[in-house]
């Protein structure tokens, strides 16, 4: 793709690195009067990558949205200025704002799955925003490291994996050849190899095509490697681990974040405005903490792995399942098997697009199969969207990759979590509110959140609600499909520790679907490796990861090592 490197910019005044965008003293307040962003500052310059970091709920998404001139519904700017390419975007007339967005300012949201029109094919999605008619969608897909773009360009978003959707969204953003690129968590949900590729791509776009890029990211390693400037939002909130009892000392990310977080943020933001880099120290520090956390959890899971081998009949057995989307298409899953013994944790790993999510959907009965069977406790489950008994559905719960899509926008958190309690008759009606409180505390949310709606929560908080809802049904098998991909390191660890703690107390068996190999390696007893819809390897986690027998496993492992 050819960005115009030396193209005239009417907003420049001759200076090569005049700011492309500048945010000063921005405060954004919700309708309820909570500060989502307080006195934030940010400067974007052509050719530079600015990373926004901070725990989930610290205002990263809101700050990026402010740069597009459209704040999330129900929020308003109460102070400060946002200037993009010489325009005050929060005061720009609609027509000019539209032209600015259409030609020069691209925004890629946090949740690419819901951001893509499900009725349009990939090539029209990309071509819709192309700068000129000659733009070749396949070339753009290639540029965003989406292999096999020619084949995928005829598909609709629903037939793509989460990682593929993310790259299509990026290709769509780049199609207009923007000057400013805003990315909300561009690498969440991608496996380490791909994460680095996207990181390199962003760096390439900034350096070679003089784009001004801002991206929010909770991956300290990536931020340290590619960012030129770092703006830390709400960094003052320390991570508090969730104890085995599931009761955090104080709920992180609650109302307190607004106050403490914003104070720390104002300071660092100002610093970022003047200093060019202060990345590596913070980044390596965070990576170090993540490392120790991993080690401790390894120790905690070894105890349970013995029980895994003593059981006879698997709790959940998937046999020879094949799935094909549409006529004449290549199968997404081919003869896939999976066995989960009671109380164990099973990992499913594989590169983006290998069929991990499809497998999860098959198990819970959301996806019809073309062949194969699924059994729970030896009793066959109907392999399709219909005909499972309520009790069978209750026993297998799914937490998805995309928490916003999975939560009903018109229900409060309390209603959402309370519903399974009623539907599956887990608690008498009058005990439901108390149990909801208990569940919210268990996943590290303030019980006060029961009155809020999903759009008032951050990505990480939504995922906690989704976990609480799944736990409310008291399942025997809990399937977690990339549930930590949208969470920052600390929150992800806390959620995983919570699940591990539940399992230790005779909680559900876990199926962890992830591209994050260390996460799977530390917390599972057995692991199944998928590649292009086939099981290429499975066995005890330790054996598979220490002596990978298949090149795909080896490739995943080597990426994990270099990616960290």
């Amino acid at each position: 793709m050819s960005h115009r490197p030396g193209r005239d910019r009417d907003w420049t005044t001759g200076l090569p690195d005049a700011p492309a965008a500048r945010v000063t003293g921005l405060t954004v307040t919700s309708a309820a009067g909570r500060h989502l962003v307080r006195e934030a500052g940010l400067t974007l310059r052509p050719g530079r990558l600015v990373a926004l970091t901070g725990p989930s709920g610290s205002g990263k998404t809101t700050l990026l949205r402010a740069l597009t001139g459209l704040l999330p519904p129900g929020t308003a700017r109460t102070a400060g200025h946002v200037e993009v390419l010489g325009h005050d975007v929060l005061a720009l007339p609609q027509r000019e704002l539209r032209a600015l967005r259409r030609d020069r300012l691209a925004h890629v949201g946090q949740d690419p799955a819901s951001g893509l029109n499900p009725w349009m094919r990939v090539d029209s999605l990309v071509r819709e925003l192309a700068a000129d008619r000659s733009t070749d969608p396949v070339a753009l897909l290639d540029e965003v490291r989406l292999p096999d773009g020619a084949r995928l360009s005829g598909r609709r978003p629903g037939a793509l994996s989460g990682g593929q959707q993310r790259r299509v969204a990026l290709a769509r953003a780049l199609a207009r050849r923007p000057d400013v690129l805003l990315l909300d968590e561009p690498t969440a949900g991608l496996h380490p190899g791909l994460r680095d590729e996207i990181g390199d791509l962003l760096q390439h776009l900034a350096r070679e095509h003089r784009l001004a890029i801002a991206f929010s990211c909770h991956d300290a390693g990536l931020v340290g490697r590619i960012a030129d400037d770092v703006v830390r939002l709400g960094a003052a909130v320390p991570h508090r681990p969730v104890t085995a009892a599931g009761r955090p000392p104080a709920p992180p990310g609650a109302g307190a974040t607004g106050a403490t977080g914003a104070d720390g943020m104002a300071g660092t933001a100002a610093a970022a405005d003047t200093t060019d880099t202060f990345d590596t120290a913070g980044a390596s520090g965070a990576a170090g903490t993540a490392g120790t956390a991993s080690k401790t959890s390894t120790a905690s899971t070894t105890g349970t792995s013995d029980t895994a081998n003593t059981t006879g009949v698997p709790l959940l057995a998937v046999r020879d399942v094949s799935v094909t989307f549409g006529r004449g298409a290549a199968p997404v899953l081919r003869d896939v098997g999976l066995a989960v013994a009671p109380g164990t944790a099973v990992g499913v790993v594989g590169a983006s697009g290998c069929g991990k999510t499809t497998l999860a959907r098959v198990v819970v009965g959301l996806q019809a199969v073309t062949a194969g069977s699924i059994a729970l406790d030896g009793v066959p489950l109907r392999p399709g969207p219909r005909g499972r008994a309520r009790e069978q559905r209750r026993r297998v719960q799914l937490v998805t990759q995309n928490p916003l899509g999975a939560l009903n926008p018109s229900r409060t958190v309390g209603d959402t979590v309370g519903r399974p309690l009623r539907l599956h008759r887990r608690r008498p009606a009058r005990q439901v509110p108390a149990r909801v409180t208990e569940l919210l505390e268990q996943v590290g949310l303030d019980p006060e959140y029961a009155g809020r709606y999903p759009h008032e929560l951050s990505g990480g908080q939504r995922q906690r609600v989704a976990v609480a809802r799944a736990l409310a049904a008291e399942p025997d098998v809990l399937i977690c499909d990339e549930i930590t991909s949208a969470l920052d390191g600390g929150t992800a660890e806390a959620i995983m520790d919570l699940l591990g703690g539940l399992r230790a107390r005779h909680g559900p068996a876990l199926v962890l679907i992830s591209h994050d190999l260390p996460l799977v390696a530390d917390r599972t007893d057995t692991v199944t490796v998928l590649d292009a819809g086939r099981v290429v390897e499975s066995g005890r986690t330790a054996d598979v990861f220490t002596a990978p027998a298949h090149p795909a496993t080896a490739a995943l492992l080597s990426r994990a090592v270099t990616g960290r």
Partner: protein
């Protein structure tokens, strides 16, 4: 990497599903027809007495009953009538004429009237609903939504009378009644304008509200916000990103209107003296002519079933795109 699939592999289940669906609809239609037979039977009097001429004695009536088969039990008559259906035989009317030939002239007229009205309803409600949705809360939106509610509450005959009053009696632009040509259809297209309008106006009111609500609903999808942030024009956002999500609801609304249009046709054809199935139906009910009533119902039911299937097809296509 994929082995070649048998081409028929995916088609056969789709056909089987369609077949099952058609069977279900046919069973529903049969149940409806049974209900029609029972209802006509429950009306006081029967075809023999309703068409009796002055001075006919009880013996004449009994003879006519035997001739028309009215002395046989209802279930048997219904079975007899139903067995003729697959062959296209709708039975015999009380006047001794085959129902098919009785309806072959008027029914196409009603279909033309209803079809034109449905087309006009679809165009008007989509155009006005989309215009209103482009600028929510503005003058046009408020006018359209308000008028739609008012119009929705008007029965067809009120609209018909008002139209005749204004466009025919006061201005004299259009004929108030329909003259029939040699082939039994209206003599001029101008005679169709007022009946079509009388049918369209109430249905448009109803459908604008559906279009408006369906578009507002579909506009809440996250990908619509993405399209707005991508700087696409409001027209493009509406047509490419919002409308596809609203189509299933809109199609279902229009399909529902088909039933109401056919029902409204009875009234409108009477008011404008149009030669259609509506007037045939009205006189058949007066004559307690079960086979004719059931015949009109069967044809109308078949039309509505086809339209509903089309609406389901739209929905399937739209939701199929999501998978």
């Amino acid at each position: 990497m994929a082995g070649p699939l048998i081409p028929g592999g995916a088609v056969a289940p789709a056909l089987a599903r369609l077949g099952a669906l058609l069977l279900k609809r046919a069973a529903l239609l049969a149940a409806l027809l049974a209900l029609v037979f029972v209802t006509v039977e429950l009306l006081p009097g029967d075809a023999a007495s309703a068409t009796a001429e002055r001075g006919e004695g009880a013996a004449d009536l009994a003879r006519r009953r035997a001739l028309l088969g009215l002395d046989r039990p209802l279930a048997e008559r219904f079975r007899h009538w139903m067995t003729g259906l697959p062959a296209g035989n709708l039975g015999t009317s009380a006047g001794g004429e085959p129902v098919t030939s009785l309806l072959s002239g008027p029914f196409p007229n009603t279909l033309l009237l209803g079809g034109l009205a449905l087309l006009l309803t679809a165009v008007l409600s989509l155009a006005l609903g989309c215009r209103a949705a482009l600028r929510p809360g503005r003058a046009l939106d408020r006018t359209v939504s308000g008028t739609a509610t008012a119009v929705l509450a008007l029965p067809e005959f009120v609209v018909a009378v008002a139209l005749v009053l204004v466009l025919s009696l006061w201005t004299g632009w259009l004929p108030a009644t329909t003259a029939t040509g040699a082939d039994g259809s209206p003599a001029s297209w101008r005679m169709l304008v007022l009946p079509v309008l009388a049918l369209t106006v109430p249905q448009t009111g109803w459908n604008i509200r559906i279009v408006r609500a369906a578009l507002a609903d579909a506009a809440r999808a996250p990908h619509v916000e993405t399209a707005v942030l991508d700087g696409l024009s409001p027209h493009r956002v509406l047509l490419r990103h919002v409308l596809p999500g609203a189509l299933p609801a809109i199609a279902t609304g229009l399909a529902t209107s088909t039933g109401m249009l056919l029902g409204g046709a009875v009234v409108v054809e009477t008011v404008f003296n149009c030669p259609g199935a509506g007037s045939v139906l009205a006189s058949a009910v007066t004559d307690r002519d079960g086979p004719v009533v059931a015949g009109v119902t069967a044809l109308a039911g078949a039309v509505i079933t086809v339209v509903l299937l089309l609406a389901d097809l739209v929905r399937d296509l739209m939701t199929g795109g999501r998978r």
